[in-house]
């Protein structure tokens, strides 16, 4: 019995050492390299300053495609490829396969020359022009717009200012629009005017540095973001599916971009502190943003575990618009996980698709 067990010792030890070596290699690779992201085939159809409008190459024959094109608008302070993270875990890829003509507006990273850009410029100069080009390329006078996070603020403002510009369907994801509750979430507390001075930051840096925005987002859940994320990787080093998913997400999380200084001041001052948008007091280039002018079909998606834009900041838009066709959808997950996590394919994307498909022909 002893003799039969002896030869197994070196083999088992070798296997253990091999596993440790493999895990170390994996750990080094994923922590020091960038994953291949945003792989869905696309072409640039419009540019302005740092902004790019991408058109994803359709995979469904034209006669089977939905007639109304879909424009995706992400936040200003992160890269939009979270919507096209990696094959098999890409909202863009999913929607292209479902037969949508998909476009994505990438705001780019603002430089020092862009510190004066405001919501006014992003909505009326960038978004409006990108939509014009989208219509010219797609040949459709109508479109659906999906805005996520700050992208939802921009699309909401656009929908209110240009209700007759062909916007058929408005989809808002984790939209921070209503800041009535000054105790909901860490951000609202942190930017309290008693202590926090955004003017001083912008005066020093010009734009809001990506590192400071990143710190703010991570500090809301410090253990999960600074320790938990790495422990998840450590515990699953022998699971390629989880490792590759972590690698792609880490690539996105660490790909930081600043936010234009004037936009940041507007976000803190006019929205977080003064709550002008939901109260109908926001002025964009002399035009008052009246949410009651929004008549587009509205899908408002809220993440139940969202700690960045708590549900109370997103819900009230439903009663402030004139849309007769509207749906409030509450899904599992957090601010980002809802759309890019492992459960998105099951809990979020099919709901968005089924709602939009019924309104896109």
């Amino acid at each position: 019995m002893l003799s039969s067990s002896l030869p197994a010792i070196p083999a088992a030890l070798e296997s253990e050492l091999r596993q440790i070596e493999e895990n170390t290699r994996t750990l080094l690779r994923v922590s020091t390299s960038h994953a291949r992201v945003a792989q869905t085939p696309k072409q640039v159809i419009w540019t302005l300053n740092k902004a790019r409008l991408y058109h994803y190459i359709p995979v469904v024959p034209a006669e089977q495609r939905h007639k109304v094109p879909l424009l995706l608008v992400f936040a200003l302070m992160n890269r939009p490829y979270i919507l096209d993270l990696r094959p098999g875990n890409s909202f863009v890829e999913y929607m292209v396969k479902q037969g949508y003509d998909v476009y994505l507006l990438d705001w780019g990273a603002p430089g020092p020359e862009d510190k004066g850009l405001k919501f006014d410029d992003y909505v009326l100069d960038y978004l409006t022009r990108a939509i014009r080009k989208l219509k010219a390329v797609s040949g459709s006078d109508e479109l659906s717009v999906l805005g996520w996070c700050i992208g939802a603020i921009l699309t909401t403002i656009y929908a209110a200012l240009r209700p007759d510009d062909g916007l058929k369907n408005l989809l808002l994801l984790t939209a921070p629009l209503d800041f009535t509750d000054k105790t909901a979430g860490g951000f609202v507390r942190w930017v309290n005017d008693q202590y926090f001075d955004p003017d001083k930051i912008i005066e020093a840096f010009g734009n809001m540095p990506g590192e400071l925005i990143d710190y703010g987002a991570k500090a809301l859940k410090p253990v999960e973001n600074y320790i938990g994320s790495y422990l998840t990787l450590w515990d699953n080093l022998d699971n390629p599916r989880i490792v590759e998913s972590w690698h792609a997400m880490n690539t996105w999380v660490t790909d930081l971009i600043p936010m234009a200084g004037a936009t940041y001041k507007q976000l803190i001052g006019e929205l977080y502190r003064e709550n002008r948008l939901i109260e109908g007091r926001m002025i964009i280039r002399g035009e008052r943003v009246d949410l009651r002018r929004i008549r587009a079909n509205l899908l408002n998606v809220i993440a139940l575990a969202d700690h960045i834009s708590p549900p109370c900041q997103s819900e009230s838009i439903m009663t402030n618009v004139s849309s007769t066709d509207q749906l409030l959808l509450k899904v599992k997950g957090g601010h980002i996980g809802m759309m890019a996590g492992s459960g998105a394919l099951k809990y979020t994307w099919p709901h968005i698709d089924s709602w939009l498909a019924a309104r896109s022909d």
């Binding site: 088992a12 540019t47 300053n49 859940k221 410090p222 253990v223």
Partner: protein, 141 residues
């Protein structure tokens, strides 16, 4: 097969060590997760407190106040050095970039007008075709 793997061979020191290590790791992981959960709750409460908001804002304010004079000195020195070297300074590059964006906007305006013209021509051609079709049909018959 799996049962055989789970039950360590008492005469195999490596197997016994592996089993002990796995059991130890399992209990350590459970303990670690429980501790982290408690720590997480505590820190989330902390970062949501008024005291934390005040402390981070004050820290940031102090940092900005202290760093600003140095930043100004660096900016002034760099501007003087670049000017002496006959090189464009930061503000000039920024101004140039802003002008480029304005040029891009004008180009985009032209592009919009061209798209409009193209659409109008296509619509006109389509209506002409529609008007011509019956006449051609008559000629054939």
């Amino acid at each position: 097969m799996s049962e055989q793997q789970e039950t360590p061979n008492p005469l195999d020191p490596f197997d016994t060590w592996t089993a002990m290590r796995d059991a130890g790791l399992k209990s350590w992981t459970a303990m670690r997760d429980a501790n982290l959960e408690a720590l997480s709750k505590m820190l989330i409460d902390l970062v949501n407190s008024e005291a934390y908001s005040q402390a981070t804002s004050q820290w940031l304010d102090t940092y900005l106040t202290l760093s600003q004079p140095f930043q100004r000195v660096i900016e002034t020195t760099m501007t003087q050095a670049l000017t002496r070297l006959n090189m464009p300074v930061r503000t000039e590059v920024i101004s140039l970039a802003e002008r480029l964006t304005n040029v891009e906007m004008r180009l985009d305006d032209l592009d919009a007008k061209l798209d409009d013209i193209q659409r109008a021509i296509k619509a006109l051609a389509a209506s002409n075709r529609a008007a011509d079709t019956p006449a051609e049909a008559k000629e054939i018959h």
